[in-house]
Amino acid sequence: MAEAFDGGRPIYAQLVERLQGRIIGGEYPPGSRLDSVRDLAGAAGVNPNTMQRALAELERRGLVYTERTAGRFVTSDTQRIEEVRRETLESEVRQFAAHMQAMGCPPGQLAQMFAALAQPSDQPAE
């Protein structure tokens, strides 16, 4: 039931990442209604105040909005979602590249490995 969290970082920050991932990944489609804070908190096994804080951060980022009576929704602004999606993907790739570099794999070699991954002949894409 409860999700696992990294020790050294605030839980709310990890919740922001996870919820944001579900929005940019399409699991929570644009314009869809989110569960209540209490239900989301229960599903993640976290304190409702912590979940509230994570949702407030997503609101600040323009990914969700609150309608006073109807609840909380994912933004319908698909451009904004795409923008955040791109930023997130780029940041993930940079982190990965830095990690590979630390293991002695320079960007050139990394690019080759990515190109090999993109070859359709080896294995069918997932």
């Binding site: 999700e3 050294g8 970082r9 839980i11 096994g45 976290v46 304190n47 105040n49």
Partner: protein
């Protein structure tokens, strides 16, 4: 935010031994707070003082502004660290007794939790294992709609699967304006549900901070930080 539990200069001595020394605490409503400390740091003493089971040696303790007494007890749901329910009673009788005793007791909620944990109303307390007795006690405590829940080691004796369910129960059942104080040394298990943590050391408040703030500034979990602070 309203203050639900107040300690001012609170001290408690057992003979020559000081169990609590000059404790200042101001806990707000709507939070889940971990009362954390090694054995003998004063956790149980603090909770007993809040329930009027002990009298302060100095200073005062107030629940929503009331000294411990009938007015405070109507607001507080207390789970003691010891088993206190009569062994010969059946689970269903206990539910009936709590319904009679507490105006804010929700028997339907209790029944739902009992069935989720496979406890039958017909079971005599005597016939239950230690862990299952603890579950019954906790269910009774969480089935009240209290302003303040004081839970002394609520998960110590129960298995990890039931522990998850119990934490879930605590998260889902405390009312929005209620405050839950959980005393424990099993910090890892309860960490994700905590708003704030109070560290007690030898009867003094070592610190009182938001759990996420500890993680942010110390760069480690509350559990890891606890182990560092109280390293033997």
């Amino acid at each position: 935010m309203e203050e639900i539990l107040t300690c001012r200069g609170l001290s408690k001595n057992y003979g020559a031994k000081a169990a609590l020394q000059n404790v200042e605490l101001h806990l707000s409503s709507g939070r889940i707070i971990g009362l954390l400390g090694p054995n003998g740091s004063g956790k149980t003493t603090l909770l007993k003082l809040a329930n009027g089971l002990l009298q302060p040696s100095a200073g005062e303790i107030l629940v929503a502004g009331h000294k411990p007494g009938p007015a405070s007890k109507a607001l507080v749901s207390y789970l003691p660290d010891a088993r206190y329910l009569p062994d010969w009673m059946r689970v269903g009788d206990l539910v009936g007794m709590f319904t009679d005793f507490y105006a804010d007791f929700n028997a339907a909620k209790a029944a739902e939790m009992l069935s989720a944990l496979h406890l039958s109303a017909a079971d005599r307390l005597k016939s239950l294992s230690k862990g299952n007795k603890e579950k019954v006690q906790l269910i009774l405590a969480m089935s009240r709609t209290a302003q303040l829940y004081l839970l002394d080691e609520p998960i110590g004796g129960v298995d990890p699967a039931a522990r998850d369910y119990i934490l879930h129960t605590i998260l889902n059942n405390y009312n929005e304006n209620g405050t839950v104080v959980i005393s424990t040394h099993l910090i890892g298990d309860i960490e994700p549900v905590l708003d704030e943590a109070v560290f007690l050391q030898e009867g003094r408040v070592l610190m009182y901070r938001a759990a996420d703030e500890i993680r942010e500034t110390e760069g480690k979990s509350v559990d890891a930080y606890f182990r560092e602070v109280f390293k033997c």
